[in-house]
């Protein structure tokens, strides 16, 4: 229990940003700019690093860094990744560690296995979560930022 998901030794480079398509659907939490959607048919393997909000409906393995932006895992999204973002909302399935600078929300359809670090964690009724939650506001900072070569979402 509570073990961090094992990192795969070598991840292939992330696919080009062409795999993503702009969405007309705004992210549900705190979105002030453009939102990129990774569609349900898209499978990504590698590092994601972006400066805009991201909605994932597809499958992602690796690490996700959105700095000061919002990450939403849609109901169809299946993620095996560690994620760092301003806010993180999980409506789908995620295995990995979540670091939300402001807030992490697991909705009624969300299933998370991993550890959460965030000053505010909301678990809606029906949500499934197994792991630990660090509710120390001072703890929500990225452990390690990926290299600049990481592909943009």
């Amino acid at each position: 229990m509570f073990d961090k998901p094992k990192k795969e030794a070598e991840k292939p480079a992330a696919p080009k940003a062409a795999a993503t398509t702009p969405s007309s659907k705004p992210a549900p939490a705190g979105n002030s700019g453009q939102t990129t959607t990774i569609g349900a048919s898209v499978k990504l393997n590698g590092e994601l690093n972006g400066d805009e909000d991201l909605l994932i409906q597809g499958q992602v393995e690796g690490n996700i860094y959105l700095k000061e932006h919002n990450l939403t895992i849609g109901e169809q999204g299946t993620i095996k990744a560690n994620a760092f973002a301003r806010t993180i909302t999980v409506r789908g399935t995620l295995t990995g560690d979540l670091n939300g600078v402001e807030k992490v929300t697991i909705t009624s359809t969300g299933k998370v296995r991993g550890n959460i670090v965030s000053p505010k964690v909301i678990l809606e009724e029906g949500a499934t979560f197994k792991g630990s939650i660090d509710m120390d506001a001072k703890a929500a900072k990225p452990a390690s930022q990926p290299a600049a070569s990481a592909k943009s979402a």
Binding site: M1, V121, E124, E125, A127, F129, K130, S132, I133, M135
Partner: protein, 207 residues
């Protein structure tokens, strides 16, 4: 030992809910008071119940790392070991791989569902992961019957909780305090109160 044996007494898996009951919890209130008195301390809490937004919201008032055990339902399926069988391996049932030692364990009504033959192994498993002086908070049924499965407790305030009332029930072991302390060596009851609904609230502390 049959780890996930058939439900005890062949009763239905799905309890029928018929409203809620509020219960005062003075020992929990005093525990919260103690935690409030040291706002800079970071607490490591293990909640053996399934993840609950209500519990998480309440404990977000503290600097804490909150571990979800989600093991109480499993307890109600554990059968006592046969004489020639090994005892339950709590390392498998409740793996505790966290780096930090625990300051508080929330067991709620889980102790009622562990056979007395399993309680020493359970307490030994927890003790290995507890800081000196760690607390364990629990409710024990004393009126003969208890819900077929452990029920979720909602925290309404530091001194009030709520539990669902469910139809049907099974016989409760009704562990007396002295028996519980004997079955859980290393934990000492520092506060115990019989609540008006026949539930005994316990606050144990690691000696």
């Amino acid at each position: 030992m049959a780890l996930f044996a058939s439900p005890k007494n062949n009763v239905s898996n799905t309890p029928v809910q018929s409203g809620h009951e509020e219960l005062g919890c003075p020992a929990f209130a005093s525990l919260v008071e103690k935690m409030d008195a040291d706002p800079e301390r970071k607490y490591h809490v293990l909640d053996l119940a399934a993840a609950s937004g209500n519990h998480i919201e309440f404990f977000s008032r503290f600097r804490c790392r909150y571990h979800i055990g989600d093991v109480l339902q499993v307890f109600s399926y554990l059968e006592p070991p046969e004489p020639d069988e090994p005892a339950a391996d709590f390392n498998l049932i409740l793996p505790l791989h966290m780096k930090e030692k625990l300051d508080l364990i929330l067991v709620w009504d889980g102790l009622n569902y562990l056979d007395k033959a399993l309680l020493p192994g359970f307490s030994e498993h927890l003790l290995r992961k507890c800081n000196p002086g760690a607390w364990l908070h629990a409710f024990v049924y004393t009126r003969g019957d208890m819900p077929v499965r452990p029920v979720p407790f909602d925290i309404l305030s530091s001194s009030t909780m709520r539990r669902p009332l469910v139809e049907g029930g099974v016989g409760a072991p009704c562990y007396p305090q002295r028996v519980l302390e004997g079955l859980m060596p290393g934990f000492r009851s520092v506060q115990s109160r019989l609540l008006k609904n026949g539930i005994q609230e316990f606050l144990f502390q690691v000696q």
